[in-house]
């Protein structure tokens, strides 16, 4: 099927995009990589009257260092995220997770900002962003504001981005020298996560000194496994210690049951994958 009719604009600055959003009102939709939006339009699950294509805005693309932060433009593609040296050095977890997203063609077009704004509970980039305490810079009619990851993801497909606003940047603290692992469980290649665990840990002389863990698809939003994080601190990174701490991984989660897995099984997966992710990150 093909999409219903719409008008199309391709602004070249964020200000022009905001003006287009204001003029388009409710019926306008932002187009980033289009890898979630175009399938939705083709299936006619949405029929916006105006598409605002963000691909012509250079200021939204690329990765840069800013003091103790690494700043990623919302329109940076998955492909560019996986190849970026600054991210490799300071924010390895987001790179690890991005490698598991979809397939090469989708990664060539899809963007970090688009994936996070879409906020699919099974999407792979929200849990790492939460684990990494990322900040989200949102531009709107009254200027820009910054939202912490913990406040950004509100519900299934719902974020703190309001009407007339757009996500411009994702700012990550530096985790230089931390180990990272994204452990994704799905049935076939190219499929979405049934459950996945994003873990990054700092190991000093065999002992875990800090840990950050985020869970994918264990609720409508990504979830931090805080009790596992605190149980790991001060432990030597042995298989036994890690597996024991990982037993608390499903605490505070509310996973759905669907054709892929029941909620009990998702809780089981969260524990097992947390153990694997932390061990790999610490190794």
């Amino acid at each position: 099927m093909i999409p219903a009719q719409f008008d199309y604009v391709r602004p070249t600055t964020v200000d022009e995009a905001l003006a287009a959003l204001r003029d388009g009102g409710d019926d306008a939709k932002l187009l980033a990589g289009g890898q979630s939006l175009l399938p939705v339009l083709r299936l006619r699950m949405a029929d916006p009257s105006l598409i605002i294509d963000l691909n012509g805005i250079p200021e939204l693309k690329g990765v840069r260092e800013e003091g103790d932060k690494v700043v990623v433009g919302s329109m940076t593609t998955h492909y560019d995220v996986t190849r970026d040296d600054t991210l490799r050095q300071h924010v390895a977890l987001i790179q690890e997770a991005t490698r598991t997203v979809a397939d090469p063609q989708v990664r060539h077009k899809g963007t970090l900002g688009g994936a996070l704004a879409h906020a699919d509970p099974a999407g792979d980039l929200a849990a790492p962003a939460l684990a990494l305490d990322a900040e989200f810079v949102i531009a709107g009619p009254n200027g820009t504001r910054t939202v912490a990851a913990a406040d950004f993801f509100e519900d299934y497909f719902t974020t703190a981005i309001g009407e007339g606003e757009l996500l411009t940047e994702i700012r990550f603290p530096k985790y230089t020298g931390w180990g990272a692992r994204y452990e994704k469980f799905n049935r076939v290649a190219q499929a979405w996560s049934i459950v996945a665990v994003a873990a990054t840990v700092k190991v000093d002389g065999g002992t875990i000194s800090e840990a950050r863990i985020g869970l994918t698809n264990m609720a409508g939003t990504p979830v931090r496994a805080r009790s596992v994080e605190s149980a790991l601190v001060g432990q030597s990174a042995t298989e036994e210690n890690v597996r024991k701490a990982a037993q608390a991984a499903a605490e505070g989660t509310s996973p759905t049951a669907d054709a892929d897995a029941g909620s009990d099984y998702r809780e089981h997966l969260a524990r097992v994958l947390t153990g694997r992710a932390v061990l790999a990150a610490a190794g």
Partner: protein
């Protein structure tokens, strides 16, 4: 209507298109390049894969207006002077197709893969074509074909993925 100017398989085209027109529709219905096929409604199958400014994309998931000012390479632009591209030749030689529906996308994605990684392992090939579904072959001969093409396209032994199509390469099995 939006005016677009796009280079497709080496020729420049100018057209008025509806913004909602998908790139794959433009290629097939306007330019008559039916070598690129549509296999699904969900962006999963990869049959429609083309290169947009040198990177593989699913042309059902890009708007034609977004290709304005860009270069598109389709399966129809691979052959040069009557010679198949080494990847096409390898698919032929290794019997890497049965019904052939997935083949245009498989070949375009496999060329993209070798551009990225000229000497992939079997596992890397399987992951490199994970966005392309084949309902017939079980993938075995597709993987073999990509290995074969990789060995023939290695620097020194034959041309590189994209630019190499201009040169000729001996076909006919290993």
């Amino acid at each position: 209507m939006a005016r677009i100017r796009t280079t497709v398989d080496g020729l420049v085209y100018e057209d008025d298109v509806e913004p909602r027109m998908l790139l794959v529709q433009y290629l097939r219905e306007r330019l008559g390049k039916t070598g690129t096929v549509i296999g699904c409604d969900t962006s999963n199958c990869g049959a429609c894969t083309v290169h947009l400014d040198g990177l593989s994309v699913k042309s059902c998931s890009v708007l034609a207006v977004q290709a304005n000012g860009s270069e598109v390479l389709t399966i129809e632009g691979l052959e040069r002077d009557g010679q198949l591209h080494p990847m096409q030749q390898a698919f032929h030689d290794n019997h890497a197709l049965q019904c052939g529906y997935c083949t245009p996308g498989m070949i375009m994605q496999s060329i993209d893969l070798l551009g990225e990684n000229p000497d992939p392992s079997e596992q890397e090939i399987r992951e490199g074509i994970e966005g392309n579904l084949c309902r017939c072959t079980g993938y075995q001969n597709i993987v073999r074909a990509v290995q074969d093409a990789a060995s023939k396209m290695k620097p020194g032994s034959a041309p590189a993925a994209e630019s190499g199509a201009k040169q000729t390469v001996a076909g006919g099995g290993a």
